[in-house]
Amino acid sequence: MSPEMLFNLLLKSLGQTAQMVAAAGIIGSLIGLPIGIFLATSGKGELFPAPTINRIVGLIINAARSTPFIILVVAIIPFTRLITGTSIGTYAAIVPLTIATIPFFARLVEAAIREIDKGLIEAARAMGATPTQIVFKVLLAEARPSLMAALTMTLVSLIGYSAMVGAVGGGGLGDLGIRYGYQRFMPEMMLAVVVVLIVLVQLVQSAGDGLARRFDKRNRKN
């Protein structure tokens, strides 16, 4: 194989990884966010008290998070087929990636919201705010830097997870590294994949940190 072909292969895999991470990141976060808010506000005596449902949702989340990702990928194949009409390929891989993202992000959102000073909730209640207003005007606004950090962490984890979906023909950089770098004994391909992944993670992390810093007004000295 010519270097040009290899380069095109690398580029194509990068595109697949980006596609999977972006789609799963966006859909998973959008679903995980309200679940995380629910987890953080539905305990006994909180804004939307529903302690029983809270416990049940918590249990499901824990179960999902303790399932090894590669098992999850295989286990939900029927569901994947239902959604995408196929069980192999990049689109199909987005389904398990999204399913894995939801509980991961939801727990991070829960932690970010629980971190907020209870005094702020009390102050908002004393102003006559409804629970919904408290969520949008106080909790989400104050948690913005932490939420940004949570999103970054989720995307970085997703890049890692996406390496495993080669198992269902998802493609992507991880898959390329295994098939060419390892199985075809092409160490230079393996190295290229690892370098691209490192750069990708660095970029995501830096962008996330930068945004988080911009949202954070808690320590403004600049």
Partner: protein
């Protein structure tokens, strides 16, 4: 116990400078009727009684201080007023409306008429001073134009007109509390609740915040209910005071009267700064005299007696030497208030002459005990 502040106790500003106060005069702004509050008591845990039967009223336009040690129940008491806590029994009535009888939506309307400030300010770190003050207006559904017209003057009122774009982390403690006050005033409340608003501030900043509250009370005719553990706060701005201890109001009345003759031990302890005896004297006191002992007496000067040379006359009248052991003069509610602890011979003849002198001059006195 029931304490009634009549309508005539209302600070003049409430009628003069203020806006119309809605309720008929004579109805108190806040009234507690046999209010109790217990926490827990479910699932085998013993219940904790935070308030054990409180009767208390705050008149329109008053600055009422509730003072007590931490854990005395004062935070619970103030949270009953805006319904952040619900009473276990009894009624809390704000300007004629019973708080406990309101549905959630009615409670939110009521809360928009009650401002609240906090010990730790509770400002949103993600919002500028301007946006923090705007928050209660946004919550009330006020349009952006009105908000803009309203917030500026409020920041000017609290002396932060130039800090509108600053974030809380760029402000000092005193400035943060000023933002908190402006925020509490945003919805034109008729009542301001202050939960230890100066406890996290240094003495100088405390004074400036208290003066601001006093000015707001006078200029806007706003009733203020504040809780604190510092007598200094009550002394500086309050017109009325209630002393709370172990969930009960043990003493209350006009600040000056309570200060002049504290009846309850808790009150005395809280008055420690000016009224407590020095350690060496306290340990030396005996409840009954033995031969040759001296009587230890506190003389309290206020009103008329503050301006007369009574100490000198006391020495002459007694025909015995008078030893001054402790004392001080301060200003409470704009009036001079002096307290002097003296000792003189505990011989019956001397004591009788002393009592006659006190009766003649109207001096308030209290026999603290006897010392060798």
């Amino acid at each position: 116990m029931t304490i009634q502040y009549t309508a005539t106790d209302v600070a003049p500003s409430a009628q003069a400078g203020g806006k119309p106060q809605g309720a008929p005069s004579g109805t108190p702004m806040v009234s507690f009727e046999g209010v109790t509050k217990r926490f827990g008591g479910t699932g085998g845990q013993p219940a904790f009684t935070a308030l054990g039967g409180v009767d208390f009223t705050v008149a329109h336009g008053a600055i009422a201080g509730i003072i007590g040690r931490s854990g005395a129940g004062k935070s619970t008491l103030v949270r009953l007023v805006n319904g952040l806590e619900k009473p276990t029994s009894g009624k809390v009535i704000v300007d004629g409306t019973e708080v406990g009888g309101l549905p959630e939506s009615g409670l939110r309307d009521l809360r928009r008429q009650i401002g609240m400030i906090f010990q730790h300010f509770n400002l949103l770190s993600s919002r500028t001073a301007f946006d923090n003050v705007a928050l209660p207006l946004e919550i009330a559904g006020v349009d952006a134009k009105t908000i803009k017209a309203k917030v500026g003057p409020l920041l000017d009122l609290v002396g932060l007109g130039d800090k509108a774009r600053s974030y809380p982390s760029e402000l000092s403690g005193g400035q943060k509390q000023r933002v908190g006050i402006a925020r509490a005033l945003a919805t034109d409340p008729k009542l301001l609740l202050s939960d230890e608003a100066t406890s996290a501030l240094d003495p100088e900043t405390t004074q400036s915040i208290l003066q601001l509250l006093k000015r707001i009370n006078a200029e806007l005719g706003l009733t203020v209910l504040l809780i604190t553990h510092e007598m200094e706060v009550v002394k500086t701005i309050a017109t009325d005071v209630a002393v709370i201890d172990k969930g009960l109001i043990v003493e209350s009345g006009r600040v000056f009267d309570v200060y002049a003759s504290p009846k309850h031990d808790t009150t005395r302890t809280l008055l420690a700064s000016s009224l407590a005896l020095p350690e060496w004297l306290r340990t030396a006191i005996k409840p009954t005299p033995s031969a040759g002992d001296r009587a230890l007496v506190r003389l309290v000067f206020f009103g008329e007696t503050a301006f007369q040379p009574l100490t000198g006359r006391l020495v002459a009248e007694l025909g015995s030497d008078v030893n001054i052991l402790a004392g001080g003069i301060e200003e409470i509610g704009g009036k001079p208030f002096g307290s002097l602890v003296v000792s003189y011979s505990a011989e019956p003849a001397v004591l009788e002459r002393a009592n006659r002198f006190y009766a003649e001059t109207g001096l308030t006195t209290e026999v603290l005990g006897y010392v060798a």
